[in-house]
């Protein structure tokens, strides 16, 4: 390893930033935020450097850092970057300063709040770059701690219940996953994702499980059990219907910046897990269970959209909308697993679905974070009110706020010309080509999404101006600068998505080639 | 003829008297006197065993007793001083009142 350890640096910078921010004297107001923002911008710059250094012509791991770490467990310190990781690293780099600049809770110890956000960023970077289960799992679990503290300490009125539910639920899923990986380790002696993917592709993993354990079960059943455990861990994180009940509560209770990170980054860790672990290592199992999995994805899409229709709290609506959008990612992922006749030789459907999933991951992170930020801005103006019926006619007093939030809402409902459409189009295109029925079943989700998002526009922004809010201030210059980059990106990706697609195109191709 | 037994019996009686005084008297001074009696009986034993022992010419027994008497004198002095202090503390010389070591 001769090159400079850029990836480790990427993980270390936010963690160092967290320490510095925590130690910043809180006497000068705003200093802590500035320090934290400074560090997050350094991470963003580094992520951009990675993008420049990244060779998008190959789909293999790049800038790999690997040395022996725990020989007894055959676990190396193994970092690597491919298109998927880079995409998510970029997303993390963008979302974190955005979340830091969003309205922060006005309590004491704000520096600790900013420090925890940075710590969370470090963990997330680690999870997106690790190629070894032990290491990955470490970051995966460690990310829970700052998230828990952020919700528990700075959240809304029922923050305690929400934080505990979030923590315990996710942890329970993680334990199922850990057990699954222990079984794999005992059977193969491996923790490395890439080596395991190789085994999974050849079907050797199932055989190894069958050799190691008997339990009077067929190797296929064992494989399904192990894959099921890992699925459970990831499903809670994403979340997949019906493991999603922690999410509305956690998103609603968390302070604005944390909601943004939860929806923008932590949920992406789950999707990343599906793409990095479940799909490459357990292709047989995913294929065997494809129909129920697709049904789960469809249920995630439709039920969350319907549930959003019944909510009256803006944050809850957005939380359900978030589940709904992640449902499209799952739909694409599970559709990709379809067994394709090798004679057909046309991978266009799979490529479309997987590209769509990648794009959707990025787009949803951006758009959902922006929407939570806007709700936070509204909340900061209304003194904590965020009910659907608490407002009305805000367009009159805050046209810029409403215009920009309107753009974000339309981006969320997949209006062409904005970022959401490209990903959804590709997902549906691919899914329809692979498993038509699932695409058709999921289609009503698109309609219901439009209904509840337009309802926000209608109830909050339109109608006669509510007399309580005649003095509601529009966005200040600083706030405009906070949200403007996100909105600009929405337009850019919506109109010209080619750079983003080029970034992960080879990864998509390689991932698909690895599937049986 | 005076035999060893005679002295020993006297000494034992003396010791018993002293011990009885120590056990039964309530006045601290009386207890001190009882202790002196017990010391005297020990001294008597020394002398008796010396006189009737294998080497009556060496003055070992007398020397022991002389030391012992000197120590007894010092002990009496210290004892009396302690008693005075105890008296000052408890305003009493009755042992019933001294139960600080009670378990």
């Amino acid at each position: 390893m001769t090159h400079f350890p850029l990836l480790s640096l990427l993980i270390v910078i936010p963690l160092a930033g967290a320490v510095v921010t925590a130690l910043t004297p809180s006497t000068r107001a705003g200093l802590g935020r500035q320090v934290a923002l400074g560090f997050s911008f350094v991470s963003l710059a580094l992520a951009l450097v990675l993008w420049i250094r990244f060779d998008s012509a190959t789909g293999t791991m790049q800038l790999v850092e690997r040395f022996s770490w725990i020989p007894a467990l055959n676990a190396d310190y193994h970092l690597g970057l491919d298109g998927l990781s880079l995409l998510l690293v970029l997303l993390t780099g963008i979302i974190t300063p955005f979340a830091l600049a969003a309205p922060a809770p006005a309590a004491r110890n704000r520096n600790i709040y900013f420090a925890l956000v940075l710590a969370l960023q470090g963990m997330v970077f680690g999870a997106f770059l690790s190629l070894n289960f032990i290491q990955w799992f470490l970051f995966w679990e460690l990310s829970l701690i700052p998230a828990f503290l952020l919700i528990r300490l700075w959240g809304g009125p029922v923050r305690s219940a929400a934080a505990y539910q979030f923590f315990v639920y996710t942890l329970a899923g993680s334990i199922a996953m850990l057990v699954g990986f222990l079984a794999i380790f005992l059977a193969t002696g491996l923790f490395d994702f890439i080596a395991l993917a190789e085994l999974g592709r050849n079907g050797e993993l199932t055989a190894a499980l069958g050799d190691r354990f008997s339990f009077n079960m067929a190797p296929e059943t064992l494989g399904l059990l192990v894959a099921g455990g890992i699925f459970l861990g990831l499903a809670v994180k994403v979340p997949v219907f019906p493991f999603h009940t922690w999410l509305p509560e956690a998103y609603t209770q968390a302070p604005t910046g944390v909601s943004m990170i939860l929806t923008g980054l932590l949920s992406k860790m789950g999707v990343y897990g599906f793409l990095r672990i479940l799909l490459p290592i357990f292709p047989e199992q995913v294929q065997a269970m494809q129909t129920p999995l697709l049904l789960l994805a469809v249920a995630t899409i439709v039920f969350s959209a319907l549930a959003a229709l019944a909510q009256t709290d803006l944050k809850r609506i957005l939380a359900y909308s978030s589940i709904n959008h992640l449902g499209y990612c799952l739909l694409g992922i599970f559709a990709v697993a379809t067994v394709i006749d090798p004679g057909a030789g046309n991978n266009s459907g799979r490529e479309a679905a997987l590209s769509g999933v990648f794009l959707q991951v990025f787009n949803h992170g951006l758009t959902a974070a922006a929407l939570f930020c806007f709700v936070g801005l509204i909340e900061a103006r209304s003194g904590g009110l965020r009910g659907l019926d608490d407002f009305g006619g805000l367009r009159k007093v805050a046209p810029v706020l409403c215009g920009l939030m309107g753009i974000s809402l339309f981006s969320s409902l997949g209006l062409p010309g904005l970022n959401g459409f490209v990903g959804e189009f590709l997902i549906f295109k691919g899914t329809f080509a692979l498993t038509g029925w699932a695409a058709v079943l999921a289609l009503p989700g698109l309609l219901i999404t439009a209904v509840f998002l337009l309802r926000i526009l209608n109830r909050v922004f339109s109608g006669p101006l509510n007399a309580n809010w005649t003095g509601l201030p529009d966005l200040s210059f600083r706030e405009r600068m906070t949200v403007a980059p996100a909105v600009a990106l929405m337009f850019f990706i919506g109109i010209y998505p080619a750079p983003l697609l080029e970034l992960f195109n080879q990864t998509v191709i390689v991932t698909i080639q690895l599937l049986p | 003829m005076l035999t060893l037994e005679f002295f020993l019996i006297i000494s034992a009686a003396l010791f018993s008297l002293g011990f009885a005084a120590v056990l039964t008297r309530r006045n601290v001074i009386m207890i001190l006197i009882g202790i002196e009696l017990m010391l005297s009986s020990a001294n008597l034993n020394f002398i008796a065993f010396w006189r009737f022992g294998p080497d009556p010419d060496a003055l070992t027994g007398v020397l022991f007793v002389l030391f012992s008497i000197a120590v007894a004198a010092a002990e009496a002095a210290v004892g009396l001083a302690l008693i005075i202090l105890i008296y000052r503390h408890f305003k009493s010389t009755n042992t019933f009142n001294f139960s600080l070591l009670n378990g």
Binding site: L309, G417, A433, L447, L454, G463 | -
Partner: protein, 691 residues
């Protein structure tokens, strides 16, 4: 041929120019009124000039050949995997004609709006939205890719949403905007599905791509021969899905409900978007994808997809015309009339007359824009009154508006010979008559013709004849509330449109079917003899009779009685039940409220309850069970392990206490123990000695 097409390199400019204007306006402040006007009008004029140049280029290139001129410029949008997703722009007679129409009417309506919106506080934003709409609509017309068309299709929907809800402070406007967006989106889902289906089957979304396009022979053949669920040909299934989108956008039954509500928007918007251009996008889509719709047609058989189009169109044409008869809002009458006329266009498409449909579309765009702007002028003049029962006698107050409105009305009603509407409707009826599948759509269309004449005459009588009725209500303020003629900036566009409504008829008479040949290829020759062939003449006479009957019946009913808010409508006096049903729009909205909307709310609540109670309940049950377990374990600890240990400790403590009683603290007692011990020792030793 290529040298004719130098202009096609600037095809992309047609939509981009207004888009730039929209972008610049949306970031500029509301106070910059003059700049907004200059930017919008400048962009519209530039687009119009470009469109005209393109139109002329196409005419010259076509030059009377049988082949339809078609020029496609394709480019890659992005690549995914090994596949490149390509979009493209297209220039052919169909969209060249549409481009001129859209830019021309758009320009006139922008001019009209400068006057109409002059007092609105959000003047700049209005023009930004209007420019956005123009850009999207023009993009829709020039796209050579189903995907690009869909993108623009959604964007015109967005512009429509924004403009219907332009007066967002009115709850009814906001609700109408939402309803429009969502209703059209229902259709758009079908469109979307059809699009990805076509993509799956053909691997391309380009219409024309040098033989590899969607609408070219190879792909169509594959689609027409492949079958899917229910034995439908693939082409039929996908065409029907695309038609769902067209039904939503063009307000065909049962997705027509949004269009009358869309009249909540400012009147120029109703004229441009909800009468002339956007609602015609559905017709344009069917016309554009016509080869797909007609793919299964044999020499003697009719394509299944087109049968559906015809029936939907015919039913809508009559259905909406019926409802229009009993409306009292000036704009709603026109809205239902639009729905009905769009039905006529669909009939034309269904029976195979693309040129007829497009000609009716363009003619309708002119006279319906004229009527809407006239209605806008009336509303403006009557101080924002829209109820025709409170108008009356306006021909004396607003002569220019009256004259132009009358021309529009006659064109719409199909007055013979001098109006474009007559010729376009004639051609549709002619085609419908010859449709082999069924004669019923022809009769439905005839009934629609009669009703059109009827409701338009009714409206004219209510608005322009008789006495001004608002005076009766508030006579004290009569002088200041008198209706007034609109300023020239509003009447000049009316005049231009009226001229268009009349003159346009010249290019599509049976005697000189220039337009027909322009769209479908071939050379047009002037033959007056064609006017007098038996079929043409008979049908012409029939429709003249029907129009005359419609006008006469309405005049007979309405002109001779007193009208007003207090009076019941003459028709209501005769047929109260029928009239009420029609006035209530045949209860379609109520039906949707009771079924679809209620179902969705119920489903939403059910999903919410499912979440709150079932899934959350399960989680709570699991966590409750865990808590229960821990309680049990705690109880075992407390009752069992802890108690044993505690008892041991207690025993030790009490026994220790008991022993400690021996420690009296009295030295003499201790000494006594020692003494006793001594005695015991002595006894013991003595005993040993003896033993």
């Amino acid at each position: 041929m290529a040298d004719h097409f130098w202009i096609s390199h600037f095809l992309w400019l047609v939509p981009v120019v207004p888009l730039l204007a929209a972008g610049m306006l949306s970031v500029s402040g509301n106070s910059r009124r003059n700049r907004a006007v200059i930017l919008t009008l400048g962009a519209q004029i530039l687009s119009f000039i470009l469109a005209s140049l393109l139109f002329i280029t196409v005419i010259r290139a076509q030059g009377g050949t049988e082949e339809v001129v078609r020029l496609a410029v394709n480019f890659t949008w992005f690549e995914f995997g090994d596949t490149a997703l390509r979009l493209g722009l297209l220039l052919d007679p169909l969209n060249a004609a549409m481009l001129v129409m859209v830019t021309f009417i758009g320009l006139l309506i922008c001019i009209f709006s400068v006057g109409y919106m002059s007092r609105d506080p959000n003047f700049t934003r209005f023009f930004a939205f209007l420019s956005l709409f123009s850009a999207a609509m023009l993009g829709l017309l020039v796209s050579n890719s189903l995907l690009l068309l869909f993108i623009c299709w959604e964007l015109v929907g967005l512009a429509s949403y924004l403009l219907i809800g332009f007066w967002y402070q009115k709850p009814s406007a906001a609700a109408a905007a939402q309803k429009a967006f969502i209703t059209t989106r229902i259709g758009d889902l079908g469109f979307f599905l059809g699009m990805i289906w076509l993509y799956r089957e053909t691997g391309t979304l380009l219409f024309y791509d040098g033989g590899a396009g969607l609408l070219e022979q190879a792909a169509l053949h594959g689609l027409a021969t492949g079958t899917t669920i229910g034995g439908l040909a693939l082409s039929t299934a996908t065409a029907l899905l695309l038609f769902c989108g067209a039904m939503g956008k063009s307000g065909q039954f049962p997705l027509h409900v949004w269009l009358p509500d869309a009249m909540e928007g400012p009147t120029p918007v109703s004229a441009l978007i909800h009468a002339a251009t956007m609602v015609a996008a559905g017709v344009f889509l069917v016309a554009r994808a016509f080869p797909l719709f007609a793919a299964t047609a044999g020499p003697d058989t009719v394509a299944t997809a087109l049968i559906a189009v015809t029936w939907v169109g015919a039913f809508t044409a009559l259905f909406a015309a019926c409802i229009a008869v009993a409306q009292t809002d000036i704009k709603r009458i026109l809205a239902y009339s639009t729905v009905s006329q769009l039905g006529f266009m669909m009939i034309a498409l269904g029976v195979g007359g693309v040129a007829a449909a497009i000609f009716h579309l363009i003619a309708h765009a002119f006279f319906k824009a004229l009527l809407f702007l006239g209605a806008g002028s009336v509303i403006h003049g009557c101080h924002d009154e829209q109820d025709i029962r409170k108008m009356g006698g306006l021909r004396r107050f607003m002569p220019a508006t009256f004259a132009t409105y009358a021309i529009g009305m006659m064109a719409l009603a199909g007055f013979p010979f001098f109006f474009s509407g007559f010729w376009s409707k004639e051609e549709i009826l002619h085609l419908a008559q010859g449709w082999p599948a069924s004669p019923i759509p022809f009769y439905l269309a005839l009934a629609g013709t009669f009703l059109t004449a009827f409701y338009m005459t009714r409206q004219m009588v209510y608005v322009f004849f008789g006495n001004y009725r608002a005076d009766q209500a508030s006579s004290e303020k009569a002088s200041e509330s008198r209706p007034h003629e609109s300023p020239p900036i509003m009447t000049v566009p009316l005049t231009v449109l009226a001229a268009g409504a009349v003159l346009l008829g010249l290019v599509a008479t049976p005697a000189w079917p220039w337009f027909h040949h322009f769209i479908e290829g071939g050379a047009a020759t002037l033959e007056f003899g064609k006017l007098f062939t038996a079929g043409t003449l008979g049908l012409m006479l029939l429709s003249i009779v029907l129009v005359a009957a419609g006008v006469g019946a309405a005049w007979f009913l309405y002109a001779r009685t007193s009208l007003g808010t207090a009076e019941r409508d003459p028709l209501e006096r005769k047929r109260p039940g029928l009239y009420r049903a029609l006035a209530q729009r045949l209860y379609v909205d109520e039906f949707y409220d009771a079924t679809v909307i209620r179902f969705h709310h119920a489903a939403g609540r059910a999903a919410d309850a499912l979440d709150r109670f079932v899934w959350h309940g399960l989680v709570m049950a699991v966590s409750g069970f865990s808590v229960l377990l821990s309680r049990a374990s705690q109880a075992v600890d407390r009752r069992f392990f802890n108690r044993g240990f505690d008892t041991g400790c207690e025993t030790l403590r009490t026994s220790g206490g008991r022993v400690s009683r021996w420690h009296t603290g009295n030295i003499q007692t201790y000494l006594a123990y020692i003494g006793a011990g001594l005695v015991l020792l002595i006894v013991f030793f003595a005993w040993i000695q003896q033993a």
